[in-house]
Every structure is written in structure tokens, then in C-alpha cells.
């Protein structure tokens, strides 16, 4: 095994594989920065280029591109409040709030360092997990996957507001997201729901226009109202801020590791993907707050809200690859496209990848590690310039932000309908922010709704109601109740502590 590990490294460091990886990294760097342009779409666009490549070169090229998009996607999310990637929207909540306080450098430093650690954890998990993950994945059937979706929504909904009314709004937003996921043809009989007679809505609401509008429009409106730069009167943090962000990651090292593991595990589970991993990690970061007062800092520029999603959306890459490589079961749409890459270069995912082609599998591990190190190093070199963008005055920035928002949304289906969806969710997002409704549960509900419906239906059709008694389901139900009750438990505990202190 060690020999294959070294062979994988040597193969990636060959000049031709390394060159292809660098080209992939450059493409991935820009794809991540540009809102709307997704890693999966770019993966599909790059697929035809690998026909004449050797397997190691092909994966260096494809994975080199794909594994860095989340890293640079965080940069756009933090600086402009526009999700660079669908998988980096959670970084906006605290990352952009930090940028507005003049702490863009610190937020970027924390995001990049947590991304690097996340990628390393994911790659390590890929290297170590292949022999042991099979039985674990196989214990998770559709009932357990349905409960994972419910657990995710319950966690974020219960944590996103303070007090009973905050929880009502959190769960209301979560239900609204689940409801929006019902738009389009139903997964069982393909009957149309809420499509208003338009062809555009047959496949449901596109995640990219929804996210771009939902997060970017309220930020742009607020920027226009303030009439200052993003950082406002605060001085933009320079290199010291960046180093502070890096230190923050090591101050909250175990949170980084835990969120990386959350991301890896979500990546391993089929159908959940990076869009879910970031929110699960964010919910976990909020859950790790000491008390209600500590929790209130989230959403207002707490560095832990940047570290969690940053680590998870990079670690999920390694996790995603585990079922793809080991069983030929892609965990996400990107991995389904990558699966096409396997066949194009003459490889069949499955047991052969763990025996005959083990060095190719390890070359993927090294590609993820090297591509992320290169990207993070390159990003650090330009951070001051990037952070400086938050000092540009609003009047110059707004037309360009709107340009990126409209173009980013349009790339989803190249349809005017994308713009209508983006504007509608922009309005909804604005009113939710205005009336202090949390937006995160809505997004998680939308992302998980389709998965939840599919798995609920399969579970009910296959097991009737008996699936509710499965041991793993019972554990997940218990965790869901615990997640929903955790704010109350935490508040009670801190009240008791205060009473003891007062006594």
C-alpha cells in the first residue's frame, strides 16, 4: 500500500501530469471566483479534453480543477456576499459580515486555511477509508438518508433564531425551503407541480439563480443604501488580519477538524453533496457555541462561521470520491460526471481501483492535496489586493456586482426564467432579512427537499411504517429531537450557571 502511495505521488509529479494539474487549478481558480459558474458544469465542459490523456493526467486535470473551486468560491462569498459556488453560500453569513467590519483579510485567511485543512482531511479520509467504509455506507439505506436530511434541517432551523419566536421563524423558513423543492415534476410519477404552465419549471428551481438572488440582492440593496464601500468606514485588514485568520483556524482547531469530518461524511453519503455539507458544518459550528450569548455572534461576523463551512466544502471532495472510486456509486452530480472520465480513460470504478489501479487512486489523493496547497498559496499571495476590493466605493462596485449576479444566474439554464427566479428570490431574501427571518434553513430545505421526498417515498414503499423502528433511524430521530431542543437545553444550563454564580 505504501508503495502504491509513493507511486501515486511520483506519477502526479511527472511534468505532464503536473502541467495538466496546474492548468486545471488555474481554470478551477477562476471558475470558483465567478458566481454561477459551477464546478460540475466546468467538469462536464472539460471532459472531452481527457480522451487522449493517461489516467493519472486526466484525473490530475479534472480533480485539480474541481477540488479548488470551493476554495476560491469562498473568496467571492466573503468579499461580495455573492456565492462564488453553490457550495460556498454558507460562508456569506459570517464571512461577508466580517468583510463589512473591515476584517476581510482575517475572514479570507481563516477561510483559506480551513479549506486547506479540510482538503487534507478529506484526502486522508479517502486514503484511509476505502477498506473500512463499505460496511458503513451499506448500513445507510433510504430511511437513514431521509432522517439525515431531517436532522440537517432541524439543526439549522432550531439554531438560527433566538427564543421560541426565533425557532418558529427558523422552522417556517425550513418548511418554505422544503416546499420550494416541490416545484417541478414529482420524482415518482413525473406529474407537474406548481409550474404555472411553463416549461422552465419542469425541472424545479435551479439552485444557482436561487442562491445568487437570495444572498446577493439584499447585500447589493444594503450597499446602495449605505452608499459607502463594502468595508464602510472600517479600515480594510491587511496582512496582519490574514495571519490572524490563519491563527483563528488553529485556535479553533478541533472545530476545523470536526467540520472537515462532517464534510467528508456528507460527501460519502450518496446524493447529499457539498451544498448540504457547508450548512451542516455551519450548524455544527453554531451548536459548538458555549451559550446563547456566544451563539448570537453568528451571522454578525464570527470567524467560526467561516471556518466551519470552509473546512467542510473542501473535505467533502475526498468523501465524495470514496463511493465513486470504491463502488462506482457517485455521491454527487460532479462525481457522476467524473465517473464519465473513468470510462473515457479506460478505467472501471470498483474493486480494481483498490487493487490493480491502486496507484491511480492514490494519485487522486495527491492531486487533491497538491492542488489545494498551490491554490491556497496563490490566493495568499493576492489576498491584500483581493481584500482591497472591499474598499472600492459602492457606486463603482454595484454595476459590476449586478453584472455578475445577472450573468451568474443566467448560466444555470441560459434562460430568461433564470433571471426571473433570481429576482424573485432576491426580493424574498430582502424581505426575510428586513423582517429578521433566517435564510439558512430555507436554503437547506430547498437543497434537501428533493432528496428527502425521494428517500421518504422509497422508505414508505419498501418498508411501510416499519422503517421508523430501524436502530440507525431511532438514533437519528433522537439526534433530531436533541438538535431541536438544544437551544432550550443550552439556555437552561447557562441560566443555572448564572444563578449559581450569583449565589
Amino acid at each position: 500500500m505504501l508503495e502504491a502511495l509513493l507511486q501515486g505521488l511520483v506519477a502526479v509529479l511527472q511534468w505532464n501530469a503536473l502541467s495538466f494539474m496546474l492548468i486545471g487549478v488555474v481554470v478551477g481558480f477562476w471558475v470558483g471566483l465567478l458566481p454561477g459558474l459551477g464546478g460540475a458544469t466546468t467538469l462536464a465542459l472539460l471532459l472531452p479534453f481527457v480522451y487522449n490523456m493517461a489516467p493519472v493526467q486526466a484525473f490530475a486535470f479534472l480533480l485539480g480543477m474541481h477540488s479548488v473551486t470551493a476554495t476560491t468560491g469562498d473568496i467571492t462569498s466573503i468579499l461580495f456576499g455573492i456565492p462564488g459556488e453553490g457550495t460556498t453560500a454558507a460562508s456569506i453569513l459570517d464571512g461577508h459580515a466580517m468583510a463589512k467590519k473591515g476584517e476581510a483579510g482575517r475572514a479570507l485567511g481563516a477561510s483559506l486555511m480551513s479549506s486547506l485543512i479540510g482538503a487534507l482531511v478529506g484526502a486522508l479520509a479517502l486514503a484511509l477509508a476505502i477498506p473500512v467504509v463499505r460496511p458503513l455506507v451499506l448500513t445507510f439505506g433510504s430511511p437513514e438518508l431521509f432522517m439525515v436530511a431531517i436532522l440537517g434541517i432541524a439543526s439549522i432551523a432550531s439554531l438560527s433564531g433566538r427564543g421560541p419566536r426565533g425557532m418558529v421563524r427558523g422552522f417556517l423558513a425550513g418548511c418554505l425551503g422544503l416546499f420550494f423543492s416541490a416545484v417541478g415534476s414529482d420524482p415518482q410519477a413525473a406529474n407537474l407541480r406548481y409550474t404555472f404552465g411553463t416549461l422552465y419549471l419542469w425541472e424545479g428551481l435551479g439552485l444557482v439563480p436561487v442562491l445568487v438572488g437570495f444572498f446577493a440582492i439584499p447585500e447589493i440593496v444594503d450597499l446602495a443604501v449605505r452608499g459607502t464601500s463594502i468595508a464602510g468606514k472600517a479600515s480594510v485588514g491587511r496582512i496582519s488580519g490574514v495571519l490572524e485568520g490563519v491563527k483563528d483556524v488553529f485556535r479553533h482547531f478541533w472545530l476545523t477538524i470536526r467540520c472537515s469530518l462532517v464534510g467528508t461524511w456528507i460527501g460519502v453519503l450518496p446524493g447529499l453533496g457539498g451544498a448540504v455539507a457547508q450548512w451542516m458544518a455551519y450548524a455544527h459550528a453554531v451548536q459548538s457555541a458555549k451559550d446563547a450569548t456566544d451563539r448570537e455572534r453568528f451571522g454578525k461576523g464570527d470567524v467560526r462561521g467561516v471556518i466551519g463551512p470552509g473546512a467542510a466544502n473542501n473535505s467533502k471532495e475526498g468523501g465524495d470520491l470514496i463511493p465513486t472510486v470504491a463502488f462506482g456509486v457517485p455521491g454527487s452530480s460532479s462525481m457522476a460526471i467524473l465517473l464519465g472520465g473513468f470510462f473515457l480513460v479506460g478505467l472501471v470504478p470498483g474493486p480494481d481501483m483498490l487493487t490493480k489501479h491502486l496507484s491511480v487512486t492514490f494519485s487522486m489523493v495527491w492531486t487533491i492535496i497538491l492542488a489545494n496547497i498551490i491554490t491556497v498559496a496563490a490566493s495568499f499571495a493576492f489576498l491584500n489586493r483581493l481584500a482591497g476590493l472591499t474598499a472600492i466605493r459602492a457606486s463603482l462596485l454595484i454595476p459590476f456586482l449586478l453584472l455578475l449576479v445577472f450573468l451568474g444566474a443566467y448560466t444555470n439554464n441560459n434562460n430568461i426564467g433564470d433571471l426571473v427566479v433570481m429576482l424573485s428570490f432576491g426580493m424574498l431574501g430582502y424581505f426575510m432579512v428586513r423582517y429578521r427571518w433566517p435564510r439558512a434553513p430555507l436554503v437547506l430545505g430547498l437543497v434537501l427537499g428533493d432528496i428527502a421526498e425521494r428517500y421518504l417515498w422509497i422508505s414508505t414503499a419498501r418498508y411501510g411504517t416499519s422503517w421508523l423502528g430501524r436502530p440507525a433511524v431511532l438514533i437519528l430521530i433522537f439526534l433530531t429531537v436533541l438538535a431541536a431542543a438544544s437551544p432550550f437545553i443550552q439556555e437552561r444550563r447557562s441560566r443555572r450557571k448564572e444563578a449559581l454564580r450569583a449565589a
Binding site: 465567478l34 461577508h96 459580515a97 463589512k100 439554531l159 438560527s160 433566538r162 427564543g163 421560541p164 419566536r165 426565533g166 418558529v168 421563524r169 422552522f171 417556517l172 418548511c175 418554505l176 416546499f179 416541490a182 414529482d186 415518482q188 410519477a189 406529474n191 407541480r193 406548481y194 440582492i217 439584499p218 447585500e219 447589493i220 440593496v221 444594503d222 446602495a224 443604501v225 449605505r226 452608499g227 453554531v286 451563539r295 453568528f298 451571522g299 457606486s395 463603482l396 454595484i398 454595476p399 459590476f400 449586478l402 450573468l407 443566467y410 448560466t411 441560459n414 430568461i416 433571471l419 429576482l423 424581505f431 423582517y435 429578521r436 427571518w437 433566517p438 439558512a440 427537499g449 417515498w457
Partner: protein, 158 residues
């Protein structure tokens, strides 16, 4: 009694949830099950939120969410005026794209915003218009080959 905008927002959600539930009445159970399972709690929670909005909840419990807050250091009258203005610009950009297409609307919008709204200098305006057009044409058209349809007006004139 005059309803607060906050309560009106909840009322709109109640309306949408009720309509969504009513729409499922004509659907087969396979199709209707999921929207009903979601729609019922959505409606109930929206009603609870509406009632709480009518009662009014103190800021320390109702106003704190895990999200960013709109700026409050701008005078409310000015804030409303600026909010309406930016929404008009956003709507105008959308309308221009529908009528004229991206290729014409992008330079036109950037120019109109920088000269009309921001009152920027000519040289800076022209440089930034060029930059916006370059981003669109070089990146999205030439490099990524994304298909951008012509505007409605051009299609009607053909």
C-alpha cells in the same frame, strides 16, 4: 386596524401555503403527498408567526437571527428612497436584458448607472464600460461559449 409590514409578510406566506395546499386536491396521492406533508406545518407555522406579529414581540427575543442585518445608521427616509432607487435600477437592467439582450444591455446599463446615478467622470465611466463589456465578451462569450439570446426587440424587428 392597520397591519404591520411584518404581519403582511406572514400573511403572504399564509396565502401562498393555503393556495399550495388547495392545488394538491386535484393531484394523485403520489404527487400530492409531499406538498401536503410540508404544506400543513408551513401553514400552521405561518399562522403562529402572523399571530405573534400582531401581538408584537420584544426585540430581545424576536429580533435576533443568525443572519446579517440591514444597516440602521442611515436616516429612514433616505434609506427607503435609496432602496426604491436600487430596485428600479435592478428592474431596469432586467427589462433591458429582455428587450435588448445581454450584449447591448451590459454596456448600456453600466454607462447609465455610472453617469446617471453615480455621476462619475467621463473617462472613468468609459473605462469601466469597456471593462464590463470585456468581462462579458471575452469571458462568457468567447471563452465559455455561453449562448446569449438576442433581445425581444431585435427578434421582433427581424
Amino acid at each position: 386596524m392597520r397591519l404591520k409590514p411584518e404581519a403582511l409578510f406572514s400573511l403572504a406566506i399564509i396565502g401562498a401555503a393555503a393556495w399550495a395546499l388547495l392545488a394538491t386536491l386535484d393531484w394523485p396521492i403520489n404527487t400530492a403527498l409531499y406538498p401536503r406533508v410540508i404544506g400543513v406545518p408551513l401553514l400552521l407555522l405561518a399562522v403562529v408567526e402572523f399571530v405573534l406579529s400582531l401581538k408584537g414581540v420584544p426585540a430581545e427575543t424576536g429580533q435576533q437571527t443568525m443572519d446579517f442585518a440591514l444597516s440602521v445608521d442611515v436616516e429612514p427616509r433616505v434609506a427607503v428612497q435609496r432602496t426604491i432607487t436600487i430596485f428600479v435600477w435592478i428592474g431596469g437592467f432586467f427589462l433591458a436584458i429582455v428587450l435588448l439582450g445581454f450584449a447591448v444591455s451590459i454596456p448600456l446599463f453600466v454607462f447609465a448607472y455610472l453617469k446617471g446615478q453615480a455621476k462619475e467622470r467621463w473617462l472613468l465611466t468609459l473605462v469601466l464600460v469597456g471593462l464590463a463589456w470585456f468581462i462579458f465578451d471575452a469571458l462568457f462569450v468567447d471563452l465559455l461559449h455561453l449562448p446569449f439570446s438576442q433581445g425581444l426587440l431585435f427578434r421582433l424587428l427581424r
